[in-house]
Every structure is written in structure tokens, then in C-alpha cells.
């Protein structure tokens, strides 16, 4: 009998549930880093235009 991988979802779904908080924090860090990089790029561009 072939067992679909989804039949084991109960096992690996638990792993994912424990990892959710880590993903949220890492996602927030990534978002903050991207926003800061864009902000500094904008600052550089506006600074360059003024020169």
C-alpha cells in the first residue's frame, strides 16, 4: 500500500509549529534590514542630488 506523504503531516506539522516563532523573529529582522538598506540608499540618493 502506498502512503501519501501528507499522511505524515501530523508529525512534521508539529516541527513547523515549534519553528513558527523563530520564523517570525527572523522575518522581522529581514524586514528591518531591508527597510534600513532602502532608507540609507534613499539618503545617499538625496544627498548626491544636493551636491
Amino acid at each position: 500500500m502506498t502512503i501519501l506523504p501528507i499522511a505524515h503531516a501530523g508529525h512534521w506539522a508539529i516541527y513547523v509549529l515549534y519553528a513558527v516563532p523563530v520564523f517570525i523573529v527572523l522575518g522581522s529582522i529581514a524586514r528591518t534590514m531591508i527597510r534600513e538598506r532602502r532608507g540609507s540608499e534613499r539618503d545617499e540618493e538625496s544627498g548626491g542630488g544636493a551636491d
Partner: protein, 466 residues
């Protein structure tokens, strides 16, 4: 080799009446960490642990607790217990649960001394049997030769705490790989422990003879270094013979500057994580690898130990990868400090995590096995029918604490340990980066590590408890 199931296999029991699923505890714990992080960012704007805050207690209290008589008594007691452990291991019963030595080495000494160190400070310095014996020998040498025994070698600075790392790694390997049951009983008999203690004692005395008693004790003697690491969390410290008090956690500052310190704290976390993982998360993987290794023609016990050794190393490597990944993330906040240096600057913050993992994982083991230690194992240390204190007939009360209460203790230990780590990390970041905004940004990575280690710890416990 006698096949036995190690009696100290962890007495964790299932939890039947938790109000919410276990994974939700991980979410709750993570939320506590995030709230703590925000609170630290808003309210903790200058360093509080970096400056020296040790102050002596009143002289009579110090003299009553720290004096030659107490030191001599502690040394004598520790030397007696070392002798008893070796004697019981070599001459007593081979049944691990009836022999004083196994519970004494792996529970009372290995775990109990951690608790004593965290609460009372570096008590192992007074209770170190090898130091006590070596000092007694040095005293006799002085009487005979009129001078202290010379140390022929200078301890190399770059060696730092590395000998202790090797010693603790070997001890953890002996407990968790050589003697641990994993998915199949292998067993650790008292005789093996007796031989290991003799070998370790010989290595220690050679180290002391070569580099000096105090030098080897503070850098190379594995257990002194290990218990001293935990004693840095304590509010008590003896300096130049005077007892003093300091803030909880503050003794950790500066601890990791010595080479090998980062490895020691990561090894401690990794070894405990492996112990939890081999009972749950890694159980199937170990089983499958064991089958493959066995099929290659190795004896089952050798195949199991080889397999467990690989997963032991992999778990420690995984813990190190999380740590260095987080540190590399911190490095992106501001260049200028090398990643290795950043690791050393923040490694002390992981001592509370090492403690939290130990408490969460071994709480029940200590609770149950200490009942045996101070009743029938004390009355009948060889397990051959003696009844010295009249307690040989006692047993272990496994109903002392409920399974649900145990789970709450484990969760609380992990949360408190990781919040303490956040506090230490934040305080150090303020000292390193000067400006609070940059310090907070660097600690996003510390928060990610803390949330990761908390979730991992709870996940391992939940899997091991199934």
C-alpha cells in the same frame, strides 16, 4: 560487558492534563522573550553589569564561612568521597542502581554541584578532591624540603580552557554515548566509572605537577572550570579569602575572554540537547544509521557507540552553528569587530541557557535519584546488603511531583534562563556599541537565537516525554 539499562535514564513522564498543546508553550515563551526584549530596549539604556560591584560581607560572617578549618574539612570530605566512589565502583555490585558510584558521579556530583555553584558560588574550589590531595602533598613536601614543589612548565596562555573542554567533552561522551541507552540498552557499569575516575585523577595530578596546583585547577581541571562557569551566575564570591556579594549574573562578565570558553558553553548546551534529542527527535535517525553501520559488520555495541558519537558531534555542531550564525548576524550591524571577537564578547550570555537546559532536562533525574543517593545508596554504598544509617530499605517516591508540575518547571527554567541571557546580551551590547539604538539592533539576532534555543528546548522535551 554486562548489558543493563542505565537506571539513571531520565525519569520523564507523560503529561496528560495540560490546558493547551505543548507547542503553544513555545509560542508563549517566545512572546515572553519578545516582550522582555522590548522592555530592555526601552528601559535599559546604560550598562549595569560591566562595572565591578563586588563588596565584602561583614568580617565575622566571612570568617565563619571561609577559614582554614572549613577548608580542611571540605577537602577531607571530598577526598573521602573520591576514595569511596572509586572503592564502590571497583568493589561493589555491578548493578548500577545499587552501587553508590554511578548516582554519585552522574547526579550528585555532575548535576548537584551545578546547583550548588549557581546558588552559593564556586564551592567546588573548596570541595575539589584533587586540589585538596595535591595541596596536602605540597604541604608535606614543604615540611620535608623546606620549599613548595616547583612547577616545571609555564601554562601556555593560548591553551586557555581547552584542556577543560576536552575533559568535559570526554565526560559527556562517556555518559551519553558510552553509557547511555539511546534506543537500545548498552549500559555503563560501575567498574567502567571507577577506571575512568582513576584515569582522570592521574591526568589531573600530572597536570598539577607540571603546571602548578592552582594554575591547572583554574584552567585545565575540567570540573573546576565547568562548575566555575556556573558559579559566575551566583551572587556570592570569595576574593583573597574574603566572602563578598555581587549582583546575580554579574560574575559572567569577562568570563569568555579566555580561549576555549566559547567552546565550553556551547559544548554544555550541545551535550544536553543531544541527550534530549536522542530520546526523541534523533531516535529514528540514530536507529536507521545504526542499522546501516551494523550491516557493515561491526559488533552491535560498537556500531551503536559509533552512531551515537556521530550524532553527539552533529548536535554540538548544530548548536555551534546557531550561535555563530547569530553572531555573524550581529556582525552585520556594525563592521569593525571581527566575528570571532564578537563571539567571545557575547558567549557569557549563554551560561544561563546552559543552566536552563540542564535544569529543564535533568530536573526529575535529580529529584528522584537524590532520594536514592541519600537513603539506600548511602547506607549500602556497595550494594551488598549493609545498612550503615538504617535507610537501606528506603525507595524512590516517584509521586513526589506530578508530571504537569514537572512540565511547568521545565518551561519556567527555559524562559527564565533565556530572559537572563537576553539581559546579559543587551547589557554587553550597550558596552560594545555605545549607542543604545545600534545595541538594540544587534540584539535582534540575540533575540532570534534565544527564541530558537527556547523553542528547540521545549520541542526536545516534548518529544522526549512522548
Amino acid at each position: 560487558m554486562i548489558d543493563v539499562t542505565l537506571p539513571i535514564a531520565h525519569a520523564l513522564v507523560g503529561k496528560s492534563d495540560l490546558p493547551i498543546p505543548e507547542w503553544l508553550f513555545a509560542w508563549g515563551a517566545s512572546l515572553v522573550l519578545i516582550v522582555s526584549f522590548v522592555a530592555l530596549t526601552l528601559a535599559w539604556q546604560s550598562t549595569r553589569f560591566e562595572e565591578e560591584r563586588w563588596r565584602p560581607v561583614s568580617e565575622w560572617i566571612s570568617r565563619a564561612l571561609v577559614n582554614r578549618v572549613v577548608g580542611f574539612g571540605a577537602g577531607l570530605l571530598s577526598a573521602f568521597l573520591l576514595g569511596l566512589t572509586i572503592y564502590a565502583a571497583l568493589k561493589g555490585t555491578e548493578a548500577p542502581d545499587r552501587n553508590f558510584s554511578l548516582t554519585f558521579v552522574f547526579v550528585t556530583f555532575w548535576l548537584g554541584m551545578v546547583v550548588a555553584s549557581v546558588l552559593l558560588g564556586d564551592v567546588f574550589r573548596a570541595l575539589n578532591p584533587w586540589r585538596a590531595i595535591a595541596r596536602a602533598f605540597a604541604g608535606v613536601f614543604r615540611l620535608v624540603a623546606g620549599q613548595s614543589p616547583p612547577a616545571p612548565l609555564v601554562y601556555p596562555e593560548r591553551l586557555g580552557r581547552w584542556p577543560a573542554v576536552i575533559g568535559i567533552g570526554a565526560f559527556a561522551w562517556m555518559e551519553l554515548v558510552w553509557g547511555q541507552s539511546g534506543f537500545q540498552a548498552v549500559g555503563l557499569v560501575p567498574h567502567d566509572v571507577g577506571i575512568a575516575v582513576i584515569v582522570y585523577s592521574a591526568v589531573t595530578f600530572i597536570g598539577m605537577a607540571l603546571f602548578g596546583i592552582e594554575e591547572w585547577t583554574s584552567r585545565g581541571e575540567a570540573f573546576s572550570v565547568y562548575f566555575n562557569m556556573f558559579s559566575r551566575l551566583a551572587p556570592l564570591e570569595v576574593r583573597e579569602g574574603r566572602l563578598g556579594v555581587r549582583r546575580w549574573l554579574s560574575g559572567t562578565v569577562g568570563w569568555a575572554a579566555v580561549p576555549g570558553s566559547v567552546a565550553l558553553v556551547l559544548l554544555t548546551i550541545g551535550a544536553t540537547a543531544f541527550d534530549g534529542a536522542q530520546e526523541g527527535l534523533l531516535k529514528d535517525a540514530i536507529s536507521s544509521t545504526f542499522d546501516t553501520v551494523s550491516d557493515s559488520g561491526l559488533a552491535p555495541v560498537t556500531a551503536l557507540r559509533l552512531t551515537n558519537s556521530v550524532y553527539f558531534a552533529l548536535t554540538i555542531a548544530a548548536v555551534a552553528a546557531i550561535f555563530w550564525g547569530g553572531v555573524a548576524g550581529m556582525h552585520t550591524v556594525r563592521a569593525g569587530i571581527r566575528t570571532g571577537e564578537l563571539g567571545r564578547l557575547f558567549a557569557h550570555a549563554f551560561i544561563p541557557i546552559a543552566l536552563a537546559y540542564l535544569v529543564a532536562h535533568y530536573f526529575t533525574l535529580v529529584l528522584y535519584q537524590e532520594q536514592a543517593q541519600f537513603t539506600y545508596l548511602l547506607s549500602d554504598p556497595l550494594g551488598e546488603g549493609s545498612n550503615i544509617f538504617g535507610t537501606a530499605g528506603s525507595g524512590i517516591d516517584y509521586g513526589l511531583i506530578g508530571a504537569t508540575a514537572v512540565w511547568y518547571v521545565q518551561v519556567a527554567a527555559l524562559v527564565v534562563g533565556h530572559v537572563a541571557a537576553l539581559v546579559l546580551g543587551h547589557d554587553r551590547a550597550l558596552a560594545v556599541y555605545r549607542d543604545p539604538a545600534t545595541a538594540s539592533r544587534s540584539q535582534y539576532w540575540m533575540l532570534a537565537m534565544m527564541v530558537g534555543f527556547t523553542s528547540l528546548g521545549l520541542f526536545l522535551l516534548s518529544q522526549a516525554n512522548q
